[in-house]
Symmetry: C2
Subunit: 480 residues, 2 copies
Amino acid sequence: MQHVIGVLRWDQETCMPPGAVAERAEQLALLEGQVHELLIAPEIGELIAAGEARTDLDHADRAFLRELRRTHDRETRLPVDLVTAIAHQATVNHASWVAAREASDFGLFRDDLQETLRLTREKADHLGFQDTRYDPLLDDFEPWMSTAELAAVLGALRGPLVDLLERITGAAVTIDDEVLRRGYDVSAQRAFSDRLLAALGFSLHTGRLDVSAHPFSATLGAADGRLTTRFQPNLLSASVFGTIHECGHGLHGLGVAPELATSSLGDGASLGICESQSRFWENLIGRRRAFWEHFYPQLQPRFPALAGVDLDRFYRAINAVKPSFIRVEADEVTYNLHILLRFSLERRMVDGDLQAGDLPDAWREESRALLGIVPERDADGVLQDIHWSMFAIGYFPTYSLGNLYSAQFHAAMARDVPDWEERVRGGRFADILDWLRERIHRHGRVYPAAELCRRVTGEALDARFFIDYLNAKFGELYRL
Amino acid sequence: MQHVIGVLRWDQETCMPPGAVAERAEQLALLEGQVHELLIAPEIGELIAAGEARTDLDHADRAFLRELRRTHDRETRLPVDLVTAIAHQATVNHASWVAAREASDFGLFRDDLQETLRLTREKADHLGFQDTRYDPLLDDFEPWMSTAELAAVLGALRGPLVDLLERITGAAVTIDDEVLRRGYDVSAQRAFSDRLLAALGFSLHTGRLDVSAHPFSATLGAADGRLTTRFQPNLLSASVFGTIHECGHGLHGLGVAPELATSSLGDGASLGICESQSRFWENLIGRRRAFWEHFYPQLQPRFPALAGVDLDRFYRAINAVKPSFIRVEADEVTYNLHILLRFSLERRMVDGDLQAGDLPDAWREESRALLGIVPERDADGVLQDIHWSMFAIGYFPTYSLGNLYSAQFHAAMARDVPDWEERVRGGRFADILDWLRERIHRHGRVYPAAELCRRVTGEALDARFFIDYLNAKFGELYRL
């Protein structure tokens, strides 16, 4: 059923004619209602309890019960009235958020955000928590992780990132990405994206690449991974790294063991783990010099704009660091500062310490402290992301978790595949992909993220891998 | 639910990666099983009976009950074991039919066809009939029409068609379609198809055009009409008339009144009525000289192959008549002879007078009698169509019904819109489309096909409109 819902959503983003949006919403509501009814059915509750009482189940079956229990309890605890009110408010929000962003006028969204926060707190209260209201919200996206654990691991990022950014902006070396912003033929970008997918091991026998306004990846079946990207005629990096990023998601989804893939253990362990797989390929592999030693000779002849641009200049351009307002355009160093900002603000909003009306000022304050810049327009600040309008509160931190996991996984891979960089340089990615499949992909959601991390890397999630990676890479690039 | 199933099927034909086929079959079986369970639910039967007892229902509600009764009774009468056996045999058939066609060896499909006929007869016996076993099979595709009525109206075609074909093949005038079989750039064909859709009133706000191996049209929502076509680099007419044909289906599906469109009255009255709408545009409008007086000046400059080919030569090429083996490539004169052949053979098979093993000889015999030619290879004869392997027995005649309805509807339209040909010549199709919408499209399935025909044309379906149309058009073309 979830895969069928996935088909409807994928179609909506990539193919559906605009006039069909109202009935598609009804189609989705119908199927999602059916899934909800199945999940909260008393018989399911009894079956879960009967399963939990058994001692003869294997590891995967116990994990299946664990995840079904978690979902059953969550869905059962939410009153139908509240679910309906949230769905209604989300629809209202979409219109007001779009209007507010277009006019760059937060006032048009303020009251809806305040109501969203009220409903979100009510939702958290029904779901229940011991420590903080943020816990059950985070759990929706990063199962089994507490806010305290999250705050500890993300907190370790702040100082080193701010410090690194200061050293970079004060460095004698300057790097810009002007070469990426020239004219790039869209059909040639498409052809290069196809080549990247093939080289990284994403087969069109079990997947495809389409175009959508916001790139995403969706698993519509155990052997049906759909990727999207976007081709901008004046920004080469958008399609190149968008494609590699979504390819990482797609390889993850298609790598789940067949016996798990169509069960509720077929998803990744958490959004943080999922994001680690896209970032692993996009950044830890795809922004390496070795990667472009292989691909740049294939890329350069396709685009007149790259004539005379040598590998070194291209490599620096794709790794230029510069504080900016927009999260999705941020580089590896500043990206997580955008997340720390949002995490801080949404915790305060959930706790009731920050009202919607005070959000724009708080945003500017945090932006100055973390990035050293302040957006003049709300469209470039507090209104830039769709997440809060969709009740995705507790979602942003999983992006940073993905970055941290990706670096920690990469360090483990580098131990197990010592010549990994030579392989990247030669365009041979099969052993790296096999390592990911064997250690991570095939397990689906059998292990909670924390346990998976310990099994893969030998220790708990630790920000130092990511910080060390950034310091080494950008220390060299900027001669710090 | 039917529209959701439509999305899954459309995706399968146009987008889905090949590796996903097994799980997609499971997704479809799940949803189709849900629809079946809903349709046969005893509560539904009770609600239908309660509705039928009421005297205060309006016309549309009574029609809704009539169609629900028909479907409920049909679905309820079929034992689950039989439905399962048919679904299983259809899967087996697909493989053996494909293999048989590829090898042009009917023996590879014979036993499966024999079993298909046995199951089909068993199905007909469960559905029940008074006159002939073919009745309940026909009813699946052409509701409320009896085999006797069908045989009468199609029987009137045979003599005049065979006679017209003999006069054409004996005529001094010869016409061939060589100019259509030159090299035609596929992207220019695509652009011209898009222009055709726009000119005929098919909006991309509520629909789209894709490519598939076998062109089809599917309604995925009240405002979501999906068309497909195919572009062959050496056959211009395939995309041009394929697009117009599917556009006719699409306009029909999108023209249903909103209050009916998402109910079981949202389909066309019957497959014959549906096919009348595609044929109306493809042949009665699209193969007219007036149509190309408007479009040929737009078509010709796009294709070097048409340089020096004047309108008259092009018009004759798209109306060349020649007996051929393959139904889907047949012209307007011979097409229905292909159907008469199949209708005759499938009636005999359903009655038990013709065994699968004797089918190829019977095919050649009928082909000689009707078309004057005999296929040497079974792939060009009895194995060419997928229908029987899919248990679509009783389907073929609806193609001919569509041709007959299209001519009869066209004659009625010509009375109501006297300057219709001038409008076509000027590329102004809105009044013709409005006429179809008002008389046919908006009613969906409210009226059975026979009643709709009387309401639209003032009389029962009669083959003479089609015969008169062919005699007039081809009499002039071939100077008979």
